[in-house]
């Protein structure tokens, strides 16, 4: 074959033109803003040399070339393809801000749709790296349809393959629904933002001055809106974390999650667990201390850490196998459940259920957050989401009650009657309709009113209540929990329980889908 022949000449010319498009000067446009180029992100994400790009040389739909500036650019602003991440097949698309601002046009959207369809066919995860100015104005309705097609694909794949989204630049208007619909959203601090309506329109309509950062920066979405689950200070750390995160997840909803090598450094029995819950029931502790002692060393990957911190969610490993953890956090709002934490927990549980990830619940919840705010904003509905999510989940579900488990919150947090598989309790557990103060005030109202020393009497009654009603041994003896365990053997117990549950299968009711409160 003659490499200098006409056919090859065209081939090589095209390659050269592509190289020119992606010149260092082009890269500098991103670098000068502290951002990586789309290509660099792909290269960081995928194992060396494993990325195969498709549709590299597509050009924009006709309209762009006719109306507006003539730009014979390749790729139409997005790089799509597949490759291996730590040895496993993953599909990805990475929007290229240097090409027409990464705006989404017909061809751009088609490329993404193509890769989404492939991912679904192959049963492999898909990662979207967003860095785009939004819909391409010149292409009008074609851009909007393009978005719709992408969203439709996400929804079709939802719960079948893991879909992760990384926001590495602007994502405005319609574009934000991709992250909203994906399973988990990673966001880079200070150089990315998401909002439905941008600061310009806000200024116009409401006459309110607000910066992009304040309206929809990473801080906002990580802490306040809960749209972003993981926030990082720079792009490289984001991508490295993404790779670590992916290693917890299966490739699709039929497979089990991958198994990591366990270095065996976490002892199955650890007496330190006995010291964590303070003797004083009103004193707080950090539930992450408990988590870190029972899972494989350093294997806890927290999700949505800054949002609703009163409920901790995240993935971890037990003897190398992935589990999802949902835990009340006593040191924030005493671990009560509220609207934000209910929705956070519900979504996490449903993801685990979709992808065969067993769930461990660590419970220490005094109830739901009282108050007009919560009631008027619908804590009833939102709390019900958590209830629904747990009940519906057919993955192995284990609960360990560490301390308080009162009333409705006890029911909601994966109680046995909701279909929880195993329920353990520590000796410090208090399981009751309501806390001792409230209960005593109601049951002994008359006695307390008539008493000469109500404070003393109350103290006595509270102690009696704790001993007689709220202690876990009663629940144990009645069969509502399976066993009161020594905190030191918690890890050993849950590993053995999950092992027993590894073939758990529950037939889901034959219906289109339930009517989950939303």
């Amino acid at each position: 074959m003659d490499l200098s022949g006409k056919n090859y000449k065209a081939f090589i010319e095209r390659q050269e033109a592509l190289k020119k498009q992606y010149s260092p000067a082009n890269a500098e446009k991103q670098h000068s803003k502290g951002k990586l180029t789309a290509r660099e992100r792909i290269n960081l994400l995928f194992d060396s040399g494993s990325f195969e790009e498709i549709d590299t040389f597509v050009t924009p739909a006709q309209q762009t070339v006719e109306f507006g500036k003539l730009e014979r650019t390749y790729g139409d602003g997005v790089i799509v393809g597949h490759g291996k991440i730590n040895g496993r097949l993953v599909f990805a698309y990475s929007q290229d801000f240097t090409v027409m601002g990464g705006s989404l046009g017909l061809v751009h959207a088609k490329k993404i749709a193509k890769i989404q369809e492939m991912a679904l066919k192959m049963g492999a995860p898909i990662i979207g790296m967003m860095d785009s100015g939004g819909a391409r104005i010149q292409e009008g309705v074609a851009s909007l349809s393009g978005y719709a097609a992408i969203f439709h694909n996400i929804i079709n794949s939802s719960g079948i393959i893991p879909q992760l989204c990384v926001i590495m630049g602007p994502a405005a208007g319609g574009a934000v629904y991709s992250p909203a619909l994906c399973d988990f959203v990673f966001m880079v601090n200070r150089t990315s933002y998401m909002f439905v309506t941008g600061p310009n329109v806000v200024k116009e309509v409401l006459n309110e001055e607000i910066s992009s950062e304040e309206l929809g920066g990473a801080e906002v979405h990580g802490r306040k809106s809960g749209v972003a689950h993981m926030i990082y200070e720079d792009e490289e750390n984001t991508i490295m974390a993404l790779k670590k995160f992916l290693a917890y997840l299966p490739s699709n909803n039929v497979e089990n999650p991958p198994v990591h090598a366990d270095d065996g450094s976490t002892p199955d029995i650890n007496e330190k667990l006995r010291d964590i819950v303070p003797d004083d029931p009103n004193k707080a502790y950090d539930v992450k201390d408990v988590i870190n002692l029972i899972i494989d060393r350093n294997s806890f990957f927290e999700t949505a850490e800054l949002y609703a911190p009163n409920l901790v969610t995240g993935f971890a490993r037990l003897k190398g196998k992935t589990i999802g953890i949902v835990a009340n956090q006593p040191k924030v709002l005493a671990g009560v459940l509220d609207i934000d934490s209910s929705t956070k927990g519900a979504r996490f549980i449903r993801f685990c259920d979709a992808f065969n990830i067993p769930i461990l619940t660590l419970e220490d919840v005094p109830g739901f957050l009282p108050g007009k705010d919560q009631e008027h904003s619908g804590i009833i509905r939102h709390g019900a989401k958590l209830l629904f999510a747990y009940s519906e989940a057919s993955v192995p579900r284990i609960t360990v009650i560490l301390r308080k488990a009162y009333g409705g919150a006890f029911i909601v947090m994966n109680s046995k009657s909701l279909g929880g598989d195993f329920s353990f309790a520590w000796p410090t557990a208090e399981i009751a309709v309501m806390g001792p103060d409230g209960a005593v005030a109601i049951l002994y109202r008359r006695e307390l009113a008539e008493s000469k020393n109500p404070a003393e009497l109350k103290k006595e009654l509270v102690k009696k209540y704790r001993d007689k009603i709220a202690n876990p041994f009663i629940a144990d003896e009645l069969g509502y929990i399976d066993e009161v365990i020594d905190p030191a053997v918690t890890r050993k117990k849950i590993i053995s329980a999950f092992s027993a549950l590894s073939n758990k299968w529950v037939k889901v009711p034959a219906r289109k889908h339930g009517n989950m409160p939303l």
Binding site: R88, A247, E255, N256, P258, V259, H260, A261, N503
Partner: protein, 501 residues
């Protein structure tokens, strides 16, 4: 009367110290175990442990006179050693011991009372012709009296609490405009700290050295001094490092100041161990400050250069024995430096850093003595002081002592809490410290940094951080996933999953 059993009304390193000497003297020791530190080292070393962990301790047990007396009686102790701090200088406690036929290891209640009240002590000193900073006669009742006294004495002045020290109730006033405000602040603080708002005013001596003399006396009227200690290395009135002797004193000055110290002690018929504190200005003028009627934290440096066990002497004196030596027999040999290693964060302004001591390895060289009340596994709790250990180094002369200090400090290994070690490592290399000309203003005013920055130590720390980052993120095998394993599942399950939809 021979002491056979001794109650130690204290904890931490001094309790361990007292147990050590008592053991050699074949005296049984009784200690009090409390809920704050039930597993403390001193508890496991004593002969008899009185378990006070059930006591709700509205008053901390070591401040609870009634309780301590009860314990002493119940455990049939002949004597009580109060250590330092807590009730060591509480005349009422000493009195109560005596009333209950328990020997109090310390001076008479009367001496404690008189020297404890700064105004009375000053009066006595004045009567004895002991040099002191001019000050108000008696306590100051109100702002007018304060202003008048200050005028007479001449600014700058210092307002001091009559009933206590340690920096509380103490205010320096340089300008007349500030006097009224400072007077009120000082009185309030004194009331809060010592239950007595009384203050007096003294001339403030700028940047002096703090020199104190160790006194030892018996009940037969023999009182000697055992040389001085140099305690100018202080921060916020807390001593950090002490030496014996002081490079500021020659034999003549030592003899003069020593004799003044003894005179002061004699004025209250003192017996047992005590310390007379002086300020020494740059012109070699010395001024009596106060007398501490107890054994002090820094007593070891005196012990190292005189060869005398002060705790032993205290016990002997309390038993009625006469001192076995006279002033002319006291010889000083060598030089001793004590570093107080505390659980404090030098980088955060010496803020206490309570926590658990995970590892503790102390040097065991012949020139190092370590007095400690903790071991690996001990907790440093915020209810007590943050002392970990006293590192006492003895050399042939000051230069030798400093040299050995450097070596010893590098051999101390403590993990689990932050310590003041970086401060001492810096101090023993500081030129002002080395030439000995430092004053009490040195630490607070002449040092801008309390630790040394070693470039290569920082580089090692940076290397470690980088190593961790690389291991967590960049190594190919940091994520060793077995993808095939996830695919192996029982046919039972696989079948169900596939056919579910």
């Amino acid at each position: 009367m021979k002491i056979k059993r001794l109650l130690i009304a204290n904890r931490g390193e001094i309790a361990v110290r007292i147990i050590s000497t008592a053991r050699e003297m074949k005296i049984e020791t009784v200690v009090v175990r409390n809920a704050n530190e039930p597993d403390a080292m001193y508890v496991s070393l004593a002969d008899i442990v009185f378990d006070n962990t059930e006591d709700p301790e509205e008053i901390p047990v070591f401040l609870n006179i009634g309780r301590l007396i009860e314990i002493a009686i119940e455990t049939k102790c002949d004597a009580v050693h109060p250590g330092y701090g807590f009730l060591a200088e509480n005349a009422y406690f000493a009195q109560k011991c005596i009333e209950n036929k328990i020997i109090f290891i310390g001076p008479s209640p009367d001496a404690i009372y008189k020297m404890g009240n700064k105004t009375i002590a000053r009066e006595l000193a004045m009567k004895q012709g002991i040099p002191m900073a001019t000050g108000s006669r008696g306590n100051i009742g109100n702002e007018e009296e304060a202003a008048a006294a200050a005028e007479l004495i001449g600014y700058p002045v210092i307002i001091k609490a009559a009933s206590g020290g340690g920096g509380r109730g103490m205010r320096i006033v340089r300008k007349p405009e500030e006097l009224e405000k400072m007077f009120l602040i000082a009185s309030k603080e004194a009331e809060k700290a010592f239950n007595d708002p009384s203050v007096f005013i003294e001339k403030y001596i700028e940047n002096p050295k703090h020199i104190e003399f160790q006194i030892l006396g018996d009940t037969k009227g023999n009182i000697v001094h055992l040389g001085e200690r140099e305690c100018s290395i202080q921060r916020k009135h807390q001593k950090l490092l002490e030496e014996a002797p002081s490079s500021a004193l020659d034999d003549d000055l030592r003899e003069l100041m020593g004799s003044m110290a003894v005179r002061m002690a004699r004025a209250v018929g003192y017996y047992s161990a005590g310390t007379v504190e002086f300020l020494l200005d740059s012109d070699r003028n010395f001024y009596f400050m106060e007398m501490n009627t107890r054994i002090q934290v820094e007593h070891p440096v005196t012990e190292m250069i005189t060869g005398i066990d002060l705790i032993e002497q205290q016990i002997r004196v309390a038993s009625g024995e006469a001192l076995a030596f006279r002033q002319k027999d006291v010889r000083i040999k060598g030089w001793s430096i004590e570093c107080r290693i505390n659980a404090e964060d030098v980088q955060a302004g010496f803020a206490p850093d309570p926590g658990k001591i995970e590892k503790l390895v102390l040097p065991s060289d012949p020139y190092v003595r370590t007095d400690t009340g903790v071991r690996a596994g001990s907790a440093i709790v915020s209810s007590y002081d943050s002392m970990i250990a006293k590192l006492i180094i003895t050399g042939t002369d000051r230069k030798d002592a400093i040299r050995k200090c450097k070596l010893a400090l590098d051999k101390v290994w403590i993990k689990g809490v932050k310590t003041t070690l970086p401060f001492f490592r810096m101090l023993v290399r500081n030129p002002v410290f080395i030439d000995g000309t430092f004053t009490t203003a040195f630490i607070e005013k002449q040092l801008d940094k309390y630790y040394l920055n070693s470039e290569y130590e920082e580089m090692l720390a940076a290397w470690l951080a980088t190593r961790l980052f690389v291991d967590e993120n960049l190594r190919r095998d940091s994520i060793s996933i077995d993808y095939e394993n996830g695919k192996e599942m029982s046919p039972w399950l696989l079948n169900k999953r596939i056919n579910q939809f």
